[in-house]
Symmetry: C4
Subunit: 219 residues, 4 copies
């Protein structure tokens, strides 16, 4: 029974999907979290299943090509090949999140990166949040766009054009944190821009803030 | 006792009204869901009853002309004739939803369709969300406007001018999903437009996204 | 013990304050509901008490001049004289609500009435929601402004300039409904105006909608 | 065991952090409350700990230089030196709050004070909410900016440029109230400005409102 393999990671994934809902980052079933299990597998949300129905057993175990290990089980998220691509090309990534959170997606629809004008952005993203290419859902193109775009940035979040947000992290929880913070700063910078032009942060200040947050913050 | 007829569908309707409340699509008592029972009947919310007071027995069984089967029971929603018109003219429809959700209604008040600039819109609506005519509440004109407007679109949602949203679906749950997604994309496109112009999606890409979502998404 | 007088009305008042909180119309302690008890008395929220601490006994019984019946009890809301003025000059009023709900107050700060561009506004307000004068808090001037402004309108809601909203109703629940609907339409019309100009409703249509809603809607 | 020292104040701090969450002023772990214990100590949130995991024992007791009393315990918030600076230079302050609440931070990113155009602002802030300088996180510069900026205003809230909000109060609850009201008025004035120019309040009216609210409001 697959709910007895990796029970802690499955529990974490169910909890993290609930964080997406409670943080209002997802509508209906549009958004998913995955977690790397080992060098050959990851767990991901099943396709089109309501968040409140997710259980430990409903998380789908896939190989790094994105194929379910159990062929007769639930189908994985239709974003499974994007997640798989990220895990294959970024050995440092332990979790991937995808949402259509509203403010971040509003920037993505304009093909406009979010400028780094808040200390909270410098802390978490180390600069702007970039925009990746438009890519069809269902194949590897999205994963490729995510990896290539993030290669040039310190940001763990990328806005995929006309689509939504992908975030990465060393753990699934870190990726969810990046998704929450991405929407938070997307909203605050949006609001600031509505009534004028936010002041830019100095590049050296961004570096110092990023360094402190990544190395000195937390326990 | 009418609460013992169609108890599962009545339970579903009570639950779906709660989804409208939890998704913040309705204020006070302004919004309703109906469900087709068979070729001659549908169930609908009673008029002006608070959502938290809805019970299985309070859902009103009506014939397809919109008249309650039990003349001494609760009065149906004042939108009952609009729902009835839809069921009579669209045999494929199993559920109808009406809301005044804020962002969608803001587009409706400007008589402006929501352009298809998000993959999530292509997925669910297959193109723009159109605007139907202004029509008086209480008669069949709204139902007529809904059916005629949707005839020319793949969208299961229509914005009725200066009024609000009607959505249809093969089931009441599908219609509620369309209402939730309609407000979600109405909000995201609104936000995007506030600071510039979202990029259009290519028509062929919309077709491919719609086809994939309608046929390959989910379990 | 005053919690044993008028227990049902006190229970209703406690519940209605919770509706204000759940509808996000109030921040901290800024907002209050009162209920007429008889031709000589009304009950009102105590001043500066947190909503979650309100009990049946904490509602303050006042005469129609706004003075507490029990001089050693809790102090009434600092808006008590405004409520009292309304009850003395509008015998039809059974409940009064005051909030600083954000969208409605945003119109009030610009001294701009909310135009009637939604069927939901025609239904509940029968036209625009007017703006009343700026008036000092603590005396009768606010009550006078409320009564004089509403005399020329069908609306049960008035925006007091640079301040917030007052609503009236035949019952405290009806006044709370007006406060909820006022914020709902203030928000929707605000959103619509952000991206263009909402279409006006025809005066005769407003009359027909108002008549239907006031006379045929509900049970 | 430190959870047995100052248990009531620790309980209050845990509760007040929950108010920040429920009031939607904070995302993830970005925001903190501190409380002065006596002339030599204050309690503050630990760095990077999730709000739902806070317990009485996790609050960090620090001296007024910002150093934890127990060197092997949890690390205090990275804003600890800012809080300490405020306590050392403002003997009247019993609580300090820091948030990145969205609307207030949107004003801060533009380096723009919030003008006093609402009676609720006159009541609580006695005038505009000012903007303090940009300052690096982690040292005393932020505390210095808070104290120097607030010296010239009646406001208990200051917007720190490109960063967020700091509020002070005679008690930690009063500081949290100021943080809640700051975001509430930041949002309402933002909304009002989106569609035009809010009317200014007269300086003498602001004085009268402030005096009444500070001296006559509440129990």
């Amino acid at each position: 029974m697959n709910e007895f393999e990796h029970p802690l990671l499955r529990r974490e994934l169910v909890d993290l999907h609930r964080v997406l809902v409670e943080s209002a980052l997802v509508a209906w079933t549009a958004g998913n979290v995955s977690a790397k299990v080992d060098d050959r597998h990851f767990l991901i949300k099943p396709s089109g299943v309501a968040y409140e129905k997710l259980t430990l057993g409903s998380m789908v175990l896939c190989d790094l090509d994105g194929h379910p290990v159990e062929p007769d089980g639930l189908k994985p998220s239709s974003d499974v090949f994007a997640h798989a691509y990220v895990y294959r090309h970024r050995a440092d990534v332990g979790g991937v999140v995808h949402t259509h959170s509203a403010y971040a997606t509003a920037w993505a629809a304009r093909n406009e990166p979010i400028p780094c004008v808040l200390t909270a952005m410098a802390d978490e993203f180390g600069g702007e949040i970039p925009v990746g290419p438009f890519a069809m859902i269902g194949g590897e193109d999205i994963g490729k766009g995510v990896v290539e775009t993030l290669a040039g940035h310190r940001s763990p979040a990328v806005l995929m054009r006309n689509h939504g947000v992908f975030t990465i992290g060393g753990s699934p929880r870190a990726a969810v944190k990046a998704a929450v913070m991405c929407e938070d700063v997307a909203r605050t910078v949006h609001l600031s821009r509505q009534l004028g032009e936010p002041l830019p942060l100095d590049g050296a200040d961004i570096d110092r803030l990023y360094d402190r947050y990544q190395n000195a913050y937390g326990q």
